[in-house]
């Protein structure tokens, strides 16, 4: 079976300036940080990020000037930092274009993308300014065809007169990068502990890059297929990066510090 293993720098070089990208993890958990640091090292510019609750991964990309536009629900490290400081500065200083959704809203948008649907209906966001206000202007939306022409649409249910639903547009990104505990050389992937929305984000991306704590033989993961997360065809490149999530947290990855 063909190996999909490549080096970290080569993997990061696949993502060009201006690419649309989503990153795995949630707030302070299991982000592909080594990959993020490599993007910064390579001075990537104008990235267009999609996420539900990013944390230090986006914050450091914003601070390094790598990002042009984001669509998100939340940017913070939760209890470790109740606001991403570089996110705050970028918005207050007018250095980033953004659009706000709710977490369920963004997850619904990733689900629509992963399901091959143009949109999905939801009952959330009614009555809020998350629904009523758009941060991106019509001109900003028109300038980039990858941005949905409208933030959302409200419809009446065709089956229940008077019942209103919000339609949220699907997300399709050029890249999705995840950090996982285990992967095989050909891209079979296992996540241990919390999965967040990683698999859904992966399934609406054209190219999925997995950085893995451990590269394991395929037989090992095939012994318990119910624990596996993404099939090999869904993953294009695999990068072996022990502690690739540092300094975010991850289930079953221990960091040992020895006094030298």
């Amino acid at each position: 079976m063909a190996s999909k293993l490549i080096g970290l720098a080569d993997a990061a070089r696949l993502v060009p300036d201006g690419a649309t990208l989503s990153l795995g993890g949630f707030t302070a958990q299991r982000h592909p940080m080594a990959f993020v640091y490599e993007l910064i090292r390579q001075r990537r510019r104008d990235l267009y990020l999609f996420g539900h609750s990013p944390g230090g991964d986006w914050d450091i990309l914003l601070g390094a000037g790598c990002v042009k536009r984001v669509e998100l629900a939340y940017e913070a490290d939760e209890a470790f930092g109740t606001i991403g400081p570089r996110w705050r500065r970028a918005v207050q200083g007018g250095q980033v274009e953004w659009e706000d959704y709710s977490n369920f809203g963004m997850v619904t948008r990733f689900q629509a993308g992963a399901m091959g649907l143009p949109f999905l209906p939801t009952r959330t966001m009614f009555g809020s300014d998350v629904m009523a206000k758009a941060a991106l202007t019509a001109e900003q939306r028109a300038a980039d065809p990858r941005t949905s022409p409208q933030k959302l649409a409200v419809i009446e249910s065709p089956f229940q007169p008077g019942e209103k639903l919000i339609l949220l547009p699907a997300i399709h990104t050029e890249f999705c990068v995840l950090h996982v505990q285990k992967a095989t050389e050909n891209g079979l992937t296992r996540v241990e502990g919390q999965t967040f929305a990683d698999n859904i984000q992966a399934l609406c991306a054209e190219t999925v890059i997995v950085t893995a704590e451990e590269i394991v033989p395929e037989d090992e993961l095939r012994r318990e297929p119910e624990r596996n997360f993404l099939p090999p065809f869904a993953v294009k490149h695999v990068v072996h990066v022990p502690l690739g999530h540092t300094l975010t947290r991850s289930t079953n990855i221990m960091i040992t510090i020895r006094a030298s």
Binding site: A79, N103, G105, Q194, F196, I200
Partner: protein, 260 residues
């Protein structure tokens, strides 16, 4: 149950708020909890009067047992010993939107008289003076839980006449406005603040002062509120019991992550 004989009781404001909020949870309820004091309150309830309450966190933990206080909703501690480790899509779509969550437990930067919450930004939305993380799951919890318990800092500027952005809809403009906006259930039932407890009148859905914390007076709390607050029915907030304080300090947060 361990008993502690320490009259007269001394307790901090955070402890009083955690206990007051915990008492809002009834046994056997399904609770969807946010980061910080909501977590403390939910865990205290589980270890005292509501041992069978089922706690859900938006990052995917269902039925958390909470032997160690998580630092955030994505913390691996929410998953250890939990009934299920699911993902964001599962808890938002099948639990919250489907109406299976009895009580949502959230906090926010600004709150108005109808329990609408702002956790997005202060000032003009497009050019904010101060930007916060954004909705996260807060908007979704406020829209879709059967009722919400809100935690807030009680200052004039944080409880203003009008909030700058409705991140999480409460009773909107009172009366039937929540239902008319398209929300099919829910609404805030209580706001536990640093100065007292606010509840909402049944028809107008306008906030009134239900209780003021020991050491304060109804009038003083009213004066520290940015909107006209009816304080005519207010009594003194019941103090924590020795057992609640013992569990809070020794079981829930012995490391003083959130307790001050």
């Amino acid at each position: 149950m361990t008993t502690v004989s320490n009259p007269p009781l001394t307790y901090s404001l955070t402890e009083l708020m955690a206990v007051t909020a915990a008492r809002e949870i009834r046994d056997n309820e399904v609770v969807f909890a946010g980061t910080g004091l909501p977590m403390l309150g939910a865990m205290l309830a589980q270890h005292t009067h509501a041992p069978n309450c089922l706690i859900i966190f938006e990052a995917g933990a269902i039925g958390s047992r909470m032997n160690h206080l998580p630092m955030s909703v994505g913390d691996p501690r929410t998953v250890r010993g939990a009934a299920m480790a699911a993902g964001l899509a599962e808890v938002f779509t099948y639990m919250l939107q489907a109406g299976k969550v009895d009580v949502g437990f959230i906090s926010g930067a600004q709150i108005d008289r109808y329990g609408n919450i702002n956790s997005t930004s202060v000032g003009d939305y497009h050019h904010p003076q101060v930007r916060f993380p954004g909705s996260g799951g807060s908007c979704d919890i406020a829209c879709l839980a059967h009722r919400t318990v809100i935690i807030a800092q009680h200052e004039k500027r944080r409880l203003p006449e009008k909030i700058d952005y409705i991140t999480s809809p409460g009773w909107l403009t009172g009366g039937n406005s929540r239902q008319e906006a398209g929300l099919i259930r829910g609404g805030p039932s209580v706001v536990v603040t640093t100065k007292g407890v606010l509840r909402f009148r049944p028809t107008s859905h306008e906030a009134y002062l239900n209780s003021y914390h020991p050491g304060l007076s109804a009038g003083a709390v009213g004066e520290d509120t940015g909107f006209a607050l009816d304080t005519s029915d207010a009594f003194e907030t019941p103090v924590p019991t020795a057992e609640e304080l013992h569990i809070l300090r020794n079981v829930v947060d012995p490391e003083r992550v959130f307790l001050k």
